[in-house]
Amino acid sequence: MTEAYIYDAVRTPRGKGKKDGSLHEVKPIDLLTPLFGALRERNNLDTAKVEDVVLGCVTPIGEQGGNIARIAVLYAGWDQAVPGQTLNRFCASGLEAVNLAAAKVGSGQEDLVVAGGVESMSRIKMSSDGGAWFLDPRINGDTAFIPQGVSADLIATLEGFPRAELDAFAARSHRKAAHARDNGHFDNSLIPVRDLNGLPILEVDETIRPETTPESIAKLKPSFQMPGEMGFDLHARRKYPQLERIEHVHHAGNSSGIVDGAALTLIGNGRIGEELGLRPRARIRGYAAVGDEPTIMLTGPAPASRKALGKAGLTAGDIDLWEINEAFAAVVLKAQRELGIDEDRINVNGGAIALGHPLGATGAMLLGTAVDELERRDKQFALVTLCVGAGMGVATVIERI
């Protein structure tokens, strides 16, 4: 296998995914345009050398439908020889794009690939593309569909995570993210979003609330109690009959934020790097996607991580930094427990509870954050992983050069 290197990683700030969010006025393609520009400029890139652009997008309809990857390439003024494709691995789409790029490079069939993702959650509502699982009562019923929040509550109930523990985790996410932002840990990757006049629209992540404490979010109402009681709890208990009830412990404060954003990474082999004068920052050591029980849905990070570690010939103990996507607090705590990781290695710059989770882009964002932090801390290995809708998990192991 040819080694796949990460040459660069850029991302937009994450804007609150509602109509009062700063990026709501920005079209999905305009989240990508500055990133294509930045990749070209930062690397003095001959774009004709890029052999594919793979972008994750979870709700690829409307403005972000119709294969936005190819259209973004053209609109950004990159060489018309660069093809583009959009993929959907739900919440891990951005990381899946990176892994697919690594596979393309690793196979020797392509030398240089851009991987990333985009999601304007304020403009294209989550789940508004419907789909057989969510919408078709037969499929939904036979596979015991429940919304992810109820799945997260199910994990918390089975694992015995009390609300207070989840709230404390959430507060730490905000504190760590604020610290990282204030100390410039994100600066290397962060590309501001500007208007056509060059005026700034958003320059920093918008949803961090450093003042958050466990007490300040303790009074928030559980978000999934009502749907749970309307029937989804019972759907969950079909799979876990030993549970008499589901504790509804997740809420807006200890779940990932809904945000807008995009990210791109530049992945290639060693030869093209030398040819173009690029400095490899990290190598991709292993990656994996797994399927797991779909009703509990969000337990994929641990098995995906174990599989990716196995491919890399490493163990969990070798990993210096973990990025476990904070879809819900219980997801991280569950993965942490299952993999036996110290908390001081997990999400050291905060996570999606503070920063938000722009579905299709998050995986590529986390990868960039991990590369930056390995360099900043002078560490060797990082592992990025996300839980994925319908019971999947994706993980990537990287090693700093």
Partner: protein, 710 residues
């Protein structure tokens, strides 16, 4: 001809459904052929102004021919029939001329579907007329376009409950819901209104046949409809636990039909309809809830002599919950009631219970205030036995105490005629024993009502050794008169229903003792289709009562010089009652805790006293044990002559303690499973869990003879 074809001078054709040799029109082959011909004739009419579709029978069209539906086992055959009917209805709908349904009587199932294919529906004003799509109650779905027309007429959210619940409505309610368009006071007015509508609407077309059709309430993509689809299966599961494919198929018909044009949608519906018709669930439900129930109502378990008679006046002794309930249902059936208790005020309290029940019916528009007053006026409360004079029947519903029952029996018999019968509403005490206190044991019988009386459809009639055939016939007639379903059993410990029902709760306790997770085994009971989990049910029955019965049984056996049989559940009962003092729901503490403000939940310490086994049984095996034990005990009841009829066994189980209707009752469950397969599986369960699972000899004989419980 089954359909009369008459054209008047205004070129309006009236099609009158009037099947020969039948009291009602039913939709089947006999009707399809003439219907097909009538439509061809309509299409050939040169100057047709419009069509009126009506019936010469009491009902308009009562639905599909169940005999034909039940007999069909080949998918292709069902599909063809469904498509054939639909194409006829569709030709009527797209005739280009106005077609009006003049509903002179009930239009149910396929009858309503035919009316929905018409352009306008007028129904006679008569509260007895029923309009609805009740197919789901027999494990079927409306396969005549009903799952497509109704949502396109009313909207997805409005139509779904009508299809899923099979609700039958009177004309007023049907008009409100939009199922019919007009109500007419007389048949003449109805026909005149039909003609008028034809004159005023020369070329009607259905909205879905007009370009640019928009769904009322939005299509499936509309966000709130999409939300509805996302949660509908989970909500349905709460009721059906996945056991009723018809309900699931109805969701699929409506959902999938919402994405395509009407004709494609109808074909999709036919496929799901076919799937229902050939399903074992539909066959089980039709067997029990149609054939066997009808057989019971026709007097299947009643002696043929004497002729049917009515009770005019009934005495009820004891005005507790049961007595009050019996008084209520009897008075509602038009019977005069003497409700007696030790004091007048006690008796009045019982009447208040009945009054509250009636009040509820008034609030739900099931009864008028005048009707309520008339019913209440029929209930005389008293503390004098003398008021029992003139009763054709006296039912005692006093405390389960032999001496007390003997006393009230003698007291009542002193006042009533020699022909009058005396019934005991006991659920535990053998009738033959109680009859010893009677001067006329031939007139003594058991009438086991279920609680709450107003809601429970079953009455278990228990024949004592000396009960006469005349007494049985009278009791049977009375049960039908109060609109309950009678089953007839012979006297034996626990009779039929209590005896078999108790095997379910006992098996639950045995599983708990083995170390099954209590929440999982409760879920297994519900997933099996039982209305309540075995532990929750035990709490409701009360562990102290079960404890009391255990002790009583032990003493009875000892008195006979025998040893009482032991059940693994017994130890659980003793532990709960004697050691842990958790006697059930009434005490607020049993297998469950019953917090004052909040839902019950399993007692957290249960697992301490009944430690969890490391290896948990698969849920499927827990379900199997809970079901098998009931079926096997029922076979024993048949074998011992406690039961004499398969219909009584099946309906008794469904109506008495909620044995799942989709299985068709305890014996139909075995038919469905296959007798040989059942016997073999029971042997295997017996080898592992104890002799209580051994298949009775009669079952094995039947199995090897290739017979079924019929």
């Amino acid at each position: 001809m089954a359909i009369r074809y008459e054209i008047d001078e205004r070129q309006i054709v009236t099609l009158t459904l009037d099947m020969e040799g039948r009291s009602a029109n039913v939709l089947g082959r006999e009707l399809m052929e003439p219907f097909s011909k009538a439509i061809a004739d309509l299409e050939a009419e040169q100057a047709l102004a419009g069509v009126i579709l009506t019936s010469a029978k009491k009902d308009f069209l009562a639905g599909a021919d169940i005999d034909q539906i039940f007999a069909m086992t080949e998918a292709a055959q069902v599909m063809e029939m469904a498509e054939a009917f639909k194409s006829l209805a569709r030709r009527l709908e797209t005739l280009g001329k106005p077609v009006v349904a003049a509903l002179n009587g009930s239009a149910l199932g396929g009858g309503l579907e035919l009316a929905l294919a018409c352009h306008h529906r007028i129904v006679l004003s008569n509260p007895r007329i029923k309009i609805g799509l009740p197919e789901v109650k027999l494990g079927l779905l409306p396969g005549g376009g009903g799952t497509q027309r109704l949502p396109r007429m009313l909207g997805l959210k409005e139509a779904l409950p009508l299809l899923l619940e099979g609700r039958e409505m009177n004309p007023e309610a049907a008009l409100q819901r939009g199922l019919v368009d007009e109500i007419a006071e007389t048949p003449e007015a109805m026909m005149a209104a039909a003609r008028a509508w034809i004159e005023a609407n020369r070329h009607p077309a259905k909205p879905w046949d007009v370009k640019g059709f928009r769904w009322p309430g939005g299509d499936s993509k509309k966000p709130d409809n999409a939300q509805m689809w996302a949660i509908a299966p989970a909500m349905l599961y709460q009721k059906s636990r996945g056991n009723y494919p018809a309900a699931k198929n109805i969701l699929s018909c409506v959902y999938e039909g919402s994405w395509v044009d009407f004709d494609t949608a109808c074909r999709i519906e036919s496929r799901y309809f076919t799937h229902c018709v050939v399903s074992p669930q539909a066959k089980n439900m039709i067997t029990a809830l149609w054939y066997q129930l009808n057989g019971i109502k026709k007097g299947g378990s009643r002696p043929s002599e004497p002729a049917r008679q009515q009770v005019r006046k009934v005495g009820v002794l004891g005005a507790g919950m049961m007595g009050a309930g019996i008084a209520d249902v009897a008075a509602r059936a038009g019977i005069d009631v003497v409700l007696k208790d030790v004091t007048k005020s006690q008796a009045e309290k019982g009447k208040d219970v009945a009054r509250a029940q009636l009040e509820k019916r008034v609030r739900r528009n099931k009864m008028t205030a005048e009707e309520r007053e008339a019913v209440l006026a029929r209930i005389l409360t008293t503390d004098h036995a003398a008021d029992l004079q003139g009763c054709d029947l006296v039912i005692e519903a006093v405390f389960e105490d032999r001496e007390l029952k003997a006393k009230v029996t003698a007291e009542a018999e002193a006042r009533i005629d020699e022909q009058a019968i005396f019934a005991s509403n006991t659920s535990t005490l053998p009738i033959t024993g109680l009859a010893k206190a009677s001067k006329r044991p031939g007139n003594f019988i058991g009438l086991h009502f279920f609680s709450p009386v107003s809601a429970m459809p079953l009455v278990e009639i228990i024949k004592g050794e000396e009960t006469s055939q005349e007494t049985l016939a009278k009791a049977f007639d009375f049960v039908l008169q109060i609109r309950k379903t009678p089953i007839v059993v012979n006297d034996s410990r626990g009779f039929y229903t209590s005896r078999v029902f108790s095997t379910y709760v006992q098996e639950g306790m045995a599983l708990l003792r083995e170390g099954q997770h209590p929440a999982a085994l409760e879920a297994a009971g519900l997933d099996a289709g039982m209305p309540v989990g075995p532990l929750a049910l035990t709490d409701e029955v009360s562990l102290s009562l079960i404890h009391h019965i255990l002790e009583q049984t032990r003493r009875d056996f000892e008195a006979e010089g025998r040893e009482a049989p032991e059940h693994p559940a017994d130890a659980v009962v003793y532990t709960m009652v004697d050691r842990l003092d958790r006697v059930g729901k009434k005490a607020g503490a049993g297998f469950y805790d019953y917090p004052e403000n909040g839902a019950k939940h399993l007692w957290p310490e249960l697992r301490k006293h009944f430690p969890q086994a490391e290896q948990q049984l698969p849920q499927a095996e827990v379900i199997e044990r809970l079901m098998f034990i009931q079926a096997i005990e029922t076979v024993r009841c048949m074998e011992e002559g406690v039961l004499n009829s398969v219909a009584d066994a099946n309906l008794g189980s469904i109506f008495g303690w909620g044995f799942p209707p989709f299985k068709g009752g305890t014996l139909q469950f075995i038919n469905d499973y296959g007798l040989s397969e059942f016997a073999a599986r029971a042997e295997a369960l017996a080898a592992r869990w104890g002799d209580r699972f051994l298949p009775p000899a009669s079952l094995k004989e039947k199995a090897s003879a290739g017979a079924t419980f019929a």
